[in-house]
Amino acid sequence: MYRAQRLGLKYLTASTVMFGAMIVFGLLASIYYVRPGFMLNTFNFSTAKIVHIDGLVIWLLMGFIGAIYWFLPQELDREVEGIGLAEVLFWVFCAAVAVVVVVFIFVQYGAANEWSMWFINQGRKYVEAPRWAAMGIAAVAGVFAYNVIATTVVARKSTGILTVLIADLVPLVLLYFDAFPEMTNMSQDLFWWWWLVHLWVEATWEVLIGCIMAWTLIHLVGASRRVVESWLYVEVALVLGTGILGLGHHYFWIGTPRYWFAIGGFFSALEPLPLLGMVVHAVYDAGERHLQAANRPAFYWTLAEAFGNFIGAGVWGFMMTLPQINLYSHGTQWTASHGHLAFWGAYGCGVIAVLYLAIAQARGCERLDGTAWKWSFALLNTGMVGMSGALLVAGIDQAFFERAIGGSTWNAYLSMEGRPWFNESMWARLAFGLIFACGFAVLVYDLIAIPKRREAGAREEATAAAGS
């Protein structure tokens, strides 16, 4: 195994740990909705939410990095350049994340000064990590990009997937520089913030997961490189063709000009179309192989990625993207419903597919099946669909009563708290969150059990050989 692949496995392990932390703090955050005043002034909702959403970004980023370290040496048949530095930075990254989380939990906030921005909490959604940590993350991302690009240069060859990945990594890393500035003008702050968030999750991350899924299909089912690369180019054209100006759907209400209604509404309405193409391709691939693959969990999570992306990002997004709807849905639980399902479908499922593939390959498990992965698959997806459904009901209730009728005033908001559909949805969300957490526990059990399955399989083969 290449050193980069060992590092990839470390990143995938860290990713799984962060996934678990995200779930714990997500469950905690959901308790506040059903028990208002829970741990008031000791551990407030905002702290739980910060760890939850920042944990989301970190577990997915670590999953992407781990996947690429796993596939890159196989792609170029050589060790990754600068791997020693990358190995050191992995531990630096983990330590930084740990320190940031500890400070979030135990210090929580500071006074309105630069010290707080540098060492406690920057207070901008998804990028609350203090500036020192943001610099660390930027350094890790920079070295990671160097690893990929330098290895390709030294190898004196590239592939279609790698070229797309490199072209994508450069803007992806540069966009992170919005994690630093502090702008007085909220319109300007949010304008640039959305460059980071949207052009990550609805543009560069989509290309990134596309590259990872391309490699996954090659290694998982022996897909032809020519086919996956052709398809990757099609997807890049369609996803970025709709997603770059689809950024405008975040510019309806932040003080920016009205032409963003037309531009943002038009392009974001087209964003689900490439996702439908992915569904078609997934069904084609699945059908071509009669739903059979040597590594069944990886295969099914790859399929889940295509469907989850279409439903979470496409269906839910299209429901609320037109400005006439968004005026009322914006900033409600409807948004949270879309966010949960979209992140899960577009990225969560893909990282889990890579987890199964990489760990099975590393442990020499040529065939992987069983019962536990099916339970995990069912529990996680049921939990997520249930949470998103509950949030959708709450969000529509909120958009209708608090926003459209109530006018979004303080009293309208407070009176919404007492509405039965809203309250029952919050309980349902918590219940499905627990189901999701159970699914995660089974997932971890199943991933740890993979080496044991190889040994059990080898023992069975030995017994069969002795008997014959």
Binding site: H281, Y284, V315
Partner: protein, 116 residues
């Protein structure tokens, strides 16, 4: 837009995309298995897609431009599955697709453990 119209429009828009996705899925599965029942189901989904687009045009207070966008989207949802299927079929047929799944996975596995 009234609150009721807002919710109804949003749900119809979501249902439109669901119908598009259902049509895509059922179209592909019908092509794979050659099943007349699945073929009928895919045509029903397509019909639902058209009906929802018509309902959005007729019943919602959206302006003309947005209705035109919805109709164009519906047409795209109708066109993407057959066009993509045809493209994928030709793509897979053209060139050397010799690697079988088990064979490729075995090669990757062997290469991994040679390096370890």
């Amino acid at each position: 837009m009234s609150p009721h119209a807002m919710v109804a429009t949003a749900l119809m828009l979501g249902a439109l995309v669901v119908a598009g996705g259902a049509y895509g899925l059922l179209y592909c599965v019908a092509r794979l298995y050659g099943s007349p029942i699945l073929g009928a189901a895919s045509r029903t989904s397509c019909g639902a897609l058209v009906a929802l687009a018509a309902a959005i045009v007729a019943l919602t207070p959206l302006h003309f431009g947005w209705k035109a966008l919805v109709v164009a989207s519906a047409m795209a949802y109708m066109g993407i599955p057959p066009i993509t299927w045809r493209y994928l079929t030709r793509l897979h047929r053209g060139g050397n697709d010799a690697s079988r799944p088990a064979e490729h996975a075995h090669r990757a596995h062997t290469r991994l453990h040679r390096r370890a």
